[in-house]
Symmetry: D2
């Protein structure tokens, strides 16, 4: 209830602040027998690491993951997996100024209201470094999904006004540019846009899109735990996310039933499919076997070096300018975070679905 | 986990199908001593009742709520409140045809995939009537919030291409038109648009906006249970919702930090406020004392009488045309549902926040 | 969290007071496809019904169960099952006296402390009638377990000083005496003891024993959700239960390791078994394939007609004598309640265990 | 659901195996502003540390706790507190033999059944070292309770056949003997009994009693989350516990209503109290303001060096004799574990009770 645990059957509890000793996560409910070593997780963490491109903070953190429990002789044991990354790059700078006022767009003020005081070094718990736990856990979830033939893939869809074009879509390009766009042309424009933002001491928002492929039909729970509702929560719990949509999303609000409904048809192999996918892979909150497609809107990085007005803890109106190691855009590094939150969500619901039918339960225990 | 329970401290469990004996909800964790009678709930249910306007199904249901437990001598006792509405208007029509195929845009196919079979009468559990339990429970939550000075107000913001204008915004108008729009001019246009949809045997989507006023700063839990994340799940769990955004939402993705950041300032009464509210009342997932403003995108009603292609349970491609008592738009009747889900969400987090500080806990028990 | 919901994957929410309109339960997470009709549940409810013997209250309640949702064409649909029993026998007697003071051994005082006031008619929510919801839900769980080859059987082991003897143990006798003892001789002694208690306007406690047969090895979660811990909570949540033990229980505290350890051995059919069962079927909180055996200690019925000292709501010391429809012993009618709580507990953990191994998950989804 | 998380508002997640890199716990929901340093926790851990007396394993572990997050400038921040103890004394002995068979009374067999294989070094997750996380978290809970005037005190009540006498009861003696008994004479007898057990290569069980003093009346939730039910689960989740009772417990089953009922009376200061405490401080599952008194039965240490029969993983019947660093009794070191589980349980329910009444909620937010 206090907010640091996510999931029911596969349950993930994160801890740690930006400038504390480290950041970590405990994964409970990971099935036994999954081959797992630190490098499986490291490759995910490397994707969110700072210093990867000229648009990410030059802060140098190796962010090396350590497995502290739950793995024995190279395989998960079924008991809690404790993962940890040490904080190594906290500069012993003077935080007394930042402690004294509320940065616009940040959680300084709300943490003070809630808790009476706050860890003001580097954003404390509300820092982007909190996502390390999400990514470490999501890497494990993604591996499990893979063994079931399910892949989760996110990428940058838009940066400020620049959107990718599906005519030029090529996923293999994503890792080759600084903005994680699967479209070389859009990436070039986006980089130019970011350069101009930075030149103006400003920052910029964007959109991440995510596709889940290979989901069996029938996953998701009716009513309050619909697959799309669980994804919405998972994704909106990432700092800086201000919107979520699935399938046609907000565009569906402008469309008509005759356009928005996806016709069912029988595919060549005899399975039932849909001719289109306006629904984004979910009907009535339950997966329909098509790709699940959703998008998340990220606000611009709130830390900008341009001058801003705010108040200090004494309530005095002041003007500030925030300097430090900040990305001009959150989106490229958040791509893997979205992917990981989606993997955790989908795996939890997939496990829950194992108990939905008497015949399947009986077959399971008749093993 | 099976999806029919929502909330932790104030926990709501709904049950019932469209054409079963009734629809109900059990509210657990309602504080003791709240004056409550059936009419307090009925006024909310009347707002989602069919037959209210020419754009809602002529199905006549009185939808009279009955309190079966948890209220004694006019006050809540602190124990579970069981609320129930009997289904009275199920027509004994022949459902054998609808049972045989999968309606596009509906949950027929996914329920079959999940459960092996389905209640095909009137949509069963995936019917819009499922929201009766949400509204009945939300009415209780809204009453509690009111006593704390918090109001939750939703309205129709857009229907198809027609949006309200804030220049003409007048909340008192909302109940005076068939589309729940707080703008008489937009309402007229929207009604015309709906008439043309209906003439073409088609349906249409729309957007609901909701404002929560009076929230103290500091509510919401960090990390996974951010106030906006919990609202996102609550709202996206309503059938037909395809998108959620808070504050500037998807528009924030196109803006810059210098535009999107809200400057803090000290108000005349000495309290800290924000000069603008791009954030929508939430920073770092925690309420900042400003109004909380969010929007939900609804897809068009999937039941349309125009011809559609689909498959039957034998996998044969067929053409169908769905007749029956269906609204050409979901939005107007869903306004109160959005309001109720928001009230339930906010109250649960408000209660959780009571334990966030040692000094407040100590003062509480020193009473 | 407010206490009326039990279980995670199979989740049960009860509602209702002794003298309200009815008592009910919502079962969420019941797998689809289970044949279920009202009579399947009624036979369980009949076992706890008053008026069954001369030691149970002559209050006449038919306690007829009604299925309000979740069953379609004779089978469970996978959506919430709402079950209800109407209260029909509330005598419109004058409760003003009982409202004015705190009955010893009852929850009157504690409910007033917690909630500020209480439903004083017939015990309100703390009445024994609250168990109707547990039994109705447990009947469904027991049916599911049966299809998996698992049976749950409880019986009276002791009434006051009278214990059954395993030399005379015959389960078929249980239903043939007024005290649900599987031992005719002990039953006779127990009935005589109860007659003497009643003659002295007194009541008496007892012990219920429960055996779960057919449980596969490997069920139960390590650490906090051990099978025995979950059973302990389930059983101790029944009003009047003051103790729980599994296997040798408190006697194990007096024994030595060489006596208490159960030797493993290979049975004739090649499966691994234990030569004895001091553990009661659980090792490290996980089922070991032997019978699970536990006991619950019940206190005497607190309502006695002998004079007692207490205080009234004004804090004055008074003397009271409680008359009304009360059993001199709780145990015989509670046998089925214990059985049902055990069934709910075991089924929930059995379902949770489906996700404990990668190989089994992969096989499940490869179906 | 996977068993490593305990509590709802104050939620505790433990991780770690006996011979892994370390053991830890994440506490989520700890209120902000509690002064906390490592030594506050260390004094609790020292009480369960091995090597404290001649009846505890000579295994030398310093068990030094490290705070990794959630504390800033000496106070809790309200965000997750990550605590960790490194394993330093794992002997690199040959475990291949112990890996090959199932130790009687241990979880070897059941873990293999559940997970397909197990961490066989030192018991893995089912080791007694798992309780380090419980104690570290419980120390924090106990500190919070203290500030509210609530103390939790456990002690050894019985070792094998030796029970303490309340005529000689002196809590200050508890720390002065090797068995944590508050009775010098009983302690002498218990030590003699343990010496004889050890001489015979055997072990012995015992009983721990716990008293919670200062609890306000009204804490605990009706129905399934009764205070006693939650305590039962908490305590029975400790490895080796086979029974739980509150107040008169199993003795109540033999008593009569006239003996077992506690008369209410008005104390000199005008407050309502009970003349006796057979109930153990709980009526209807809710605290009544008296001391809460419960007991836990522990089985004998299963590891004994006497010869035992068992089977190996190939199913062959073999004879084994278990050598290693094992206590002949679990009880003395478990005293602090019981105390800590009680503190965690009571604090969680105390927090939950803050939302039970409208008037109190209104007063809280009117602050």
């Amino acid at each position: 209830m206090a907010g640091s645990t996510f999931g029911t059957l596969l349950s993930v509890t994160t801890w740690g602040e930006s400038h504390g000793r480290g950041i970590g996560v405990v994964i409970d409910g990971c099935p036994a027998g999954l081959p797992l070593e630190e490098n499986d997780i490291q490759i995910y963490l490397n994707r969110r690491k700072p210093g990867q491109s000229r648009f990410t903070t030059p802060r140098k953190e190796d962010d090396l993951v350590e497995i502290w429990s739950g793995v024995f002789e190279g395989k998960t044991t079924g008991t809690p997996i404790s993962l940890m990354v040490r904080n190594t790059s906290q500069r012993s700078k003077d935080y007394s100024e930042i402690a004294s006022y509320y940065r616009p767009g940040h959680a300084d003020y709300t943490y003070d209201c809630k808790y009476g005081f706050r860890d003001y070094t580097g954003g404390g718990r509300s820092s982007g470094r909190e996502t390390i736990g999400r990514v470490a856990a999501g890497a494990v979830a993604a591996r499990i999904l893979e063994t079931l033939g399910i892949t989760v893939t996110a990428y940058t869809r838009a940066i400020g006004p620049v959107e990718i074009s599906y005519d030029r879509f090529d996923l293999s390009l994503m890792e080759q540019n600084a903005v994680n766009m699967p479209d070389a042309e859009a990436a070039r424009q986006a980089e130019a846009h970011l350069d101009s933002c930075r030149a103006e001491q400003d920052s910029c928002g964007g959109i991440i899109e995510c596709v889940i492929h290979g989901m069996p039909a029938g996953v998701g729970e009716p009513c309050f735990d619909k697959l799309n509702a669980c994804l919405a929560k998972a994704v909106c719990s990432i700092g800086a996310v201000k919107g979520f949509e699935i399938g046609d999303g907000f565009a569906a609000a402008k469309s008509r039933g005759s356009e928005n409904n996806d016709a069912f048809c029988t595919a060549e192999n005899g399975t039932i499919a849909k001719k289109s996918n306006h629904a984004g892979g979910v009907l009535g909150g339950i997966s329909d076997g098509s790709d699940i497609i959703f998008r998340a809107a990220f606000k611009p990085t709130p830390s900008i070096s341009a001058e801003q007005q705010t108040v200090n803890r004494d309530g005095e109106n002041i003007t500030v300018s925030i300097h430090g190691r900040h990305d001009p855009i959150i989106v490229p590094r958040a791509v893997v975070v979205v992917e990981c939150m989606a993997a955790l969500t989908v795996l939890d619901l997939l496990m829950a679905d194992m108990t939905s039918r008497m015949d399947r339960i009986q077959a399971f225990f008749r093993r």
